[in-house]
Amino acid sequence: MRPTLPKIGLLKGLGVTLKTMMSPSTTSQYPHVKPDLPPRTRGVIALMEENCTVCMLCARECPDWCIYIDSHKDTIPPKKEGGRARTRNQLDRFAIDFALCMYCGICVEVCPFDALFWSPEFEYSTYSIRELTHEKEQLRVWMDTVPAPPQLEVGAEIPPEISDGLEAARKAAEAEAQRLLAASQPAAGGDGAPAGGKAAAGTAADDDIHVEAQVDQETFDKLVAEGKSERVARAKAKAAYVRKEKARIRRERAGSESPPAGGDQGERAGG
């Protein structure tokens, strides 16, 4: 240690305490002053019942098995004649036993439908431990206290929801720009602008191509031969059929608008 005067260490210690006494204290007087909690605080779990599809992932993943879910299936009559009746899960009971819960957040993390949220509420003590099992009514009440998530740090990867939205917005803006360009220059570039315009219109119009799903026999046979189950093969064959039909219709439309390329399309449309 550096050579110091004897007993100077004692005096330095006295100085520190005196200095601390003179400066205002850092105590915040709860309960008169509520604590300032950050948005990600894990206080209590809130449930947005409308989003829950009773997939039971949260109950399965909970390390303490403290989520109790009861449900039943409702049969909904088909929308059209001859259609298949739909079944939907209905949530009867969703209870979390907060006496067991260890506030790890796995249930909130795994929920694929964004039905569970963290709320910074912490003042829910009860006199009896049995009252710590809260039902979905109380969990819904806590939804009102859920704060908005904070912005991510500079340098973080942008989440896919935001990046997809940004990408779509960018494409829409580009399409808009192209359209304006085409509108302002109708004589210039017969192929370039319309083709670009058609391409944009094509993708935009994809959404209103409606194809009734039927089983594409080739795909079905191929998949069954590979060993997949009939149900899976049927589903994949239907998807393949829809994909082929949509592509055909798209080609038809494109072909009908640019006649020079229509020849092969006509063949393909037939095949």
Partner: protein, 397 residues
């Protein structure tokens, strides 16, 4: 704990410490000697000085300790068995809790074990943030022991200052992870989510605060003559004894051995950081305390380094919904704040481990207790217990 019934003193008399009528044996030793009576005292399991439910049974001759035996197991929760029935993300939430003062470092160990088994590459940014969180957790842990060591010796003020710092840092950690003590932030393949905006700036400001307050602790304790008189020369631990007991961490570094897993087997980004390892000279309580204060400063340096060099990018890896480690076994050593923590993970391809054995630092640290306490005074025992850093949850799991 049945060997209590057969525990005997040198005089061959059976004792049942802690039971009714314990300890007040009258023994006559030798002919012509002054007859004395050794008092058998039970420190703990509930005691203000033992950090948690540690029980030390001591034979006292006046104020001198003739024999000491720590009795552990009061906090055994069956972690390793619980881990066999849970998948890897649930184990992270559990493993926060055995050494609750270094929660993130524990999670990190498990994450690294599974990632090494799966030969997974963790994104750069995730590694930097993991180092940042681990070092903040290290500072939290060391601040706790700085405060409580002074408290046990009678200095009742530094503990409040230390906890004031801890509150500030915990607020910072809460803004990123959601928890103040149990973080549940690391995941296999990276982290749960990225940091919130403003975290890095707040971190930079906080390291400045911690450095300033560290100087205050040095003034209040390290330079205080009474403190030095209470701790210098108390409980010296020679290097070979420490090595034979498997003592690691600040307790070992105080004896003069610069053994630190962050330097010898770097994990995450520690290979790119210049980690300072402060060492003491003779391993007494004063050296252990001084090493702790120096390690806080060293962790502040590491955090500053991370803040300068952090990269951008994702913090998660695309993994299947259920993480399954391939068959095999792996042993991972990480440098927890209390010492070297080892995870021996044996997997049989399922989503639960087949066996997760933890080598916890506190277990070996208190194994050196009988050696340290032999011949010490009762007041020295408090100084030694406070300076051999351990957390009872870590000892017993």
């Amino acid at each position: 704990m049945t060997d209590l019934e057969t525990m005997t003193t040198e005089r061959g008399q059976g004792l049942l410490p802690g039971g009714p009528g314990e300890g007040m044996l009258v023994e006559v030793r030798g002919e012509g000697e002054l007859t004395t009576q050794d008092m058998n005292l039970n420190i703990g399991p509930q005691h203000p000085a033992t950090h948690g439910v540690l029980r030390v049974v001591i034979d006292l001759d006046g104020e001198k300790i003739r024999r000491a035996q720590p009795i552990i197991g009061y906090m055994h929760r069956g972690f390793e068995k619980l881990a066999e029935a849970r998948d890897y993300r649930q184990i992270m939430a559990l493993v926060n809790r055995h050494d609750w003062l270094s929660a993130f470092n524990n999670e990190l160990g498990v994450a690294i074990a599974v990632e090494r088994m799966m030969e997974l590459e963790v994104p750069d940014r995730a590694q930097w943030i993991r180092v940042l969180m681990a070092e903040w957790n290290r500072i939290l842990n060391h601040l706790m022991f700085v405060g409580s060591f002074g408290l046990e010796l009678g200095a009742i003020t530094p503990v409040f200052f230390a906890f004031r710092e801890r509150e500030d840092i915990q607020h910072l950690m809460e803004s990123a992870t959601g928890g103040r003590l149990h973080f549940s932030y690391a995941r296999v393949g990276g982290l749960k989510e990225d940091l919130p905006r403003g975290f890095l700036a707040a971190s930079a400001q906080m390291t400045k605060n911690v450095r300033v307050r560290n100087a205050e602790y040095r003034d209040l304790l390290q330079g205080n003559e009474i403190f030095v008189a209470r701790t210098r020369g108390v409980g010296p631990l020679p290097r070979d004894v420490a090595a034979s007991y498997g003592v690691t961490g600040p307790t070992l570094q105080a004896t003069g051995v610069p053994e630190d897993s962050r330097v010898t087997e770097p994990y995450e980004k520690y290979g790119e950081i210049d980690v300072k390892v402060p060492v003491g000279t003779n391993g007494d309580s004063y050296d252990r305390f001084m090493v702790l204060l120096d390690r806080i400063d060293a962790s502040c340096d590491i955090i500053d380094h991370v803040l300068d060099n952090i990269t951008s990018g994702p913090v998660k890896t695309n993994l299947p919904k259920v993480v399954k480690a391939p068959e095999g076994a792996i042993y991972v050593r990480t440098e927890n704040p209390l010492g070297q923590c080892g995870y021996y993970l044996v997997s049989d391809g399922k989503k639960n481990p087949w066996r997760l054995k933890m080598r916890t630092p506190s277990f070996n640290n208190i194994a050196a207790m009988p050696y340290l306490l032999d011949g010490a005074l009762l007041s020295d025992m408090i100084a030694i217990l406070g300076s051999v850093f351990f957390v009872v949850g870590d000892v017993d799991r």
